[in-house]
Symmetry: C2
Subunit: 408 residues, 2 copies
């Protein structure tokens, strides 16, 4: 039996992927750029074993056995095996490709976070397959065929997914554009919103936007193209203030084209808009003080949760403002309201108290906050105890139930 | 003493006015089209008296004396007097233009409705002034200088405000394009939403959209131009289904460019989006049944309240669906939940019950519903008891406090 265990990160787009030009190959209508988040707080984990004794291919996701017939998983499997067989022929290595495969995957973060579990999951699957079969070179091209934004989770730091031009998608892949510490000590606060509304899945939502929104045509042809250039320049110049402005503008434009869809795709809710307004008011204070290097910025995927990028120097005051403006529900369960990196909330200045109080919300509008940071790409776990599959049986060690979502 | 009393209607745009090309003259960036609503349920009322015995110009708005220094009111006054003096010279009529003026205005609808009180108010003021001084011809050009959308309240039925091209605004006026009964027995349901958020006023909101939204540039240059043509054709063809689709598309596009503004101008709230989704689901049922002549459509101004246009044949079932999906708060005060035209809510079909229940909201998300219809232009009230000013003193008869808002 041969076994590999890997983890892969969540990524958050700052130039959004919204709209496919090819639904089968998952080819986007524009380039996107994302930050990879730290795997210390959130990651997908996958163990893959192959053995000549296995009698069938099997797949467990978050503790539940699932069909491997899913075409997106099959695409990833076939592509990695195709590359491996090419390499094996050259190596004259043993034919492990004919062995059956057991795949066991889980996410260590709650679905409630609405975060990219499918992106992290497919990146992890493809990365682990690549390790197992000894495939070298870029795997983002393969991960893309599992879930579009998964291609960006194959690398750490700032990552760009090039839409490509080819009909067969061969030039649609991701590449790192800056390392995790490009903007030093960058933190991320995920504001997990309470929301009961039924939402349109991102695959259907983006299809409807492409089909019905006139503004979307302009986004694709004009605005997101030049904005991606502007973002690359802001990254190159390490211009944090500009990075913040562009990130918020693109998030708002994405949700604008969603609103312009027929019927409208509404992902942000009243709480989301309150968080966004708070971020703008916080930046007004920093800008007035000539302190634009401590600006912060939000971005929203296809859900109500804000993802806020925050320089480390101000992260504790920002969490303090958020907790004051969005107090926890007194009836919420015992989990801490701020999770992830340990956060010591300081006594807020009068100015920040007023900022929080200006539009303070009834308690319980946010479920909790996750304090995390930006991070590196997928990792191989060598400690055998980290394996999700029993080395004797090749079957899952434990059961755990979580579901998946997708990101942009 | 010479006295005139008039009423003027509210109007609801179906092609939105959002963005000025000249802030002083109130010149818009695009043509807009609106439906004038019936004055039976909502109107502004103005009495104007002039007398050689008055010692100063005075102005009462909703029972409170206000300054007449407001430049928008002054613009309207000066323009009507300029036209009148031109006419008087020709007529050699008596010089009533030198007499002081008393103006008393009120709206008979609650500000909470978020409806166009300034549009109705300025239309009423200008119409009454025109009557008083015997000015003939189009007054929409004058009303526009009070509040942009007021120019559309000068006429009944479907009204188009032509943006014009001239720098001095002389070609920016409204004209009726179809009478009130063009679409027979058309009803209007205003869903007044509970909302505590602070909102950006429409003047500032549209300025920020013009200054910061890239999508707005496309709206102005491309989409709203061709959509206005499409709407004129739908009106000409009496194509109700098309009218509905275009109305909703333009409302959504306006709120999309608001979302695309920096910082975002958010007017619709979670309740607004729920109402919009309900309308789409209702139309899906009518479309599936091949009954597109009974489709309905929503439009939202710079606030959370839905305005729904409904063919008379289905208005009672639509109110029934709305009341079921948005039940009144049990702690609300004694006013009826459905006001305006008497509405007998029928027993709903299973299909409509399911429709309402699919996304039913906790009670109290709507304050109340106003059932009204489309209507005609400003009216002169000849019954002396209708005057707001005492014929003996020229002072207001009664006091009543309501504030104003503006529409698009």
């Amino acid at each position: 039996m041969k076994t590999v265990t890997c983890t892969a990160p969540v990524n958050i787009a700052v130039i959004k992927y919204w709209g496919k030009r090819d639904e089968m190959l998952i080819l986007p209508l524009n380039d996107s750029i994302s930050f990879t988040l730290s795997q210390d707080e959130m990651c997908a984990k996958t163990t893959i074993s192959i053995s000549p004794t296995f009698t069938e291919d099997r797949f467990w996701l978050n503790g539940k056995e699932e069909s491997l017939e899913n075409p997106r998983i099959q695409n990833c499997l076939k592509e990695v095996r195709r590359r491996a067989s090419k390499r094996k022929l050259e190596d004259s290595a043993s034919d492990t490709l004919s062995w059956h495969i057991h795949i066991c995957s889980e996410n260590n973060f709650p679905t409630a976070a609405g975060l990219a579990s499918s992106a992290a999951g497919y990146a992890c699957l493809v990365y682990a397959l690549g390790q197992l079969y000894g495939v070298e070179g870029d795997l983002s091209y393969v991960a893309r065929q599992g879930s579009g934004s998964a291609c960006r989770s194959v690398y750490g730091g700032l990552v760009r997914w090039y839409m490509g031009q080819a009909d067969d998608g061969t030039d649609s892949f991701a590449r790192p554009v800056a390392p995790p510490h490009h903007f030093p000590d960058l933190r991320v606060i995920i504001c997990v919103a309470n929301d009961s509304r039924k939402k349109i899945g991102s695959t259907i939502g983006m299809r409807q936007t492409v089909q019905t929104s006139q503004l979307m045509q302009y986004r694709i042809k004009e605005t997101v193209v030049s904005r991606t250039d502007d973002m690359m320049k802001a990254i190159e110049d390490k211009n944090w203030s500009e990075f913040c402005d562009i990130t918020m503008t693109d998030s708002n434009e994405m949700h604008a084209v969603c609103q312009d869809t027929n019927p409208p795709c509404v992902y942000m809710n009243d709480t989301s808009h309150s968080v966004a307004a708070l971020v703008h008011r916080y930046n007004d204070i920093k800008t007035a003080a000539g302190d634009v290097s401590h600006k912060i910025c939000y971005t929203f995927d296809a859900g109500p949760n804000a993802c806020i990028f925050v320089p480390g120097a101000v992260v504790e005051e920002v969490v303090g403002v958020l907790v004051r403006a969005f107090p926890p529900s007194p009836t919420s369960n015992s989990v801490p309201y701020v999770t992830g990196i340990t956060t010591h909330i300081p006594e807020l200045s009068r100015e920040l108290k007023n900022l929080a109080d200006e539009d303070a919300q009834p308690c319980g509008h946010l479920k909790y906050l996750i304090h995390t940071k930006v991070g590196d790409g997928p990792r191989i776990l060598t400690d055998p105890t980290s394996s999700l599959l029993d080395p004797a049986t090749g079957l899952p060690k434990l059961q755990k139930e979580v579901e998946g979502e997708s990101n942009l």
